[in-house]
Symmetry: C2
Subunit: 214 residues, 2 copies
């Protein structure tokens, strides 16, 4: 049966959207096929990869006979078709809050640090990225203050947590002072204690360069 | 009962994300409270509005006692809590494709034309927006060629259609030649025949200026 084949994850160790998918549900194991976004001018730009993902981005997941891109679409598909604790809560209002926080990050913050965007920005890319991450975190902080329990929405791990941790990692790469956002900082620290967030970390992937390996 | 109060939609006639929510489910009527993104330096920047939506964007929806931002979170909440034909298909694979197309637009294209982004780009904003819309449409066209029936995914209206039409409207505002993308063009034309897309059009809102009114 198609659903019993291991899904293939085309990703990159440091891509925050690839990391989201790797956190996903702990019951799902992938065959990881690294796509090096830097080497050879960017392996995502080959015609072969473009046929798989016309946006020429990572991640792409081949699963159950279909090819999916867009990390949140992948995460929700896996959440709906695999067993295990749900990453979208059963209560419609809590579910809406999970999606609101996920999209605030996935549409409101991350796209502005995408490789093809900051390549176009050029020399200003550090200030540009800091500006938009700070802008987003200033909005996210008061929202999380209202919705958070142990994790982003209440006390259960959700898709919002899966979006938060890789975004904080990106913020640190771009030298944003995350200490200005105490709720974000605390949630990130709590989440990084969890195994699913640890084993999926950019410092521990098959394509992690030796000097960045934990 | 809270669910019987009319939800309040804080939006702007020309915002593509506000338009997405207005298309939504035809059974839902909103009290529309316009937020003029240009007038008075931007009414979304007031402290009062910031308390409602810390990202200082439109749309914001007050519904069932909660305040939601992020258009796709709003659309899915309403889809899950109101009667009528579902905007997310029942089949998990079709649902994943709807989300993939929606997110390709909502995370991969639209954020780069957000007002606060193009204000930072300044004089180059027209070329910048064209570049990223063309980049996105070049990816969307082959995907839609595979998924589309009468509409973006098969023959039923979905969230993907709700994302497509406002993005094509944006493309036309930024003078992108949509004729280069025959599948996108044809789907857009078919969708604009439908009443829900017509009554929600930017040219027919309470805050539409007289010279842009249809």
């Amino acid at each position: 049966m198609a659903t019993q084949t291991k899904p293939i994850l085309h990703g990159y160790f440091r891509s925050s959207c690839s990391w989201r998918v790797r956190i996903g549900k702990s019951c799902v194991e992938y065959d990881q096929l690294p796509v090096n976004l830097i080497k050879d001018g960017g392996q995502q730009l080959t015609e072969e990869y473009k046929a798989l993902n016309p946006m020429q981005q990572v991640p792409t997941v081949e699963i159950d006979g279909i090819t999916l891109s867009q990390s949140l679409a992948v995460i929700q598909y896996i959440d709906e078709t695999r067993p295990g604790p749900r990453l979208l809560p059963a209560d419609p209002k809590a579910r809406a809050q999970v999606r609101m926080i996920s999209d605030l990050i996935a549409s409101g913050i991350q796209p502005l640090q995408n490789l093809y965007v900051i390549q176009k920005i050029g020399a200003e890319k550090m200030q540009w990225s800091q500006h938009f991450i700070d802008r987003g975190f200033q909005a996210l902080e008061p929202i999380l203050k209202q919705t958070a329990g142990k994790y982003c929405v209440g006390d259960e791990i959700s898709m919002a947590d899966i979006c938060l941790v890789p975004q904080v990692y990106n913020a640190e790469r771009f030298k944003v002072d995350v200490g200005k956002y105490p709720t974000i900082k605390q949630l990130n620290e709590a989440l990084l204690e969890i195994e699913a967030f640890q084993v999926s970390h950019p410092s521990r992937q098959p394509d992690t360069p030796d000097d960045l390996r934990a």
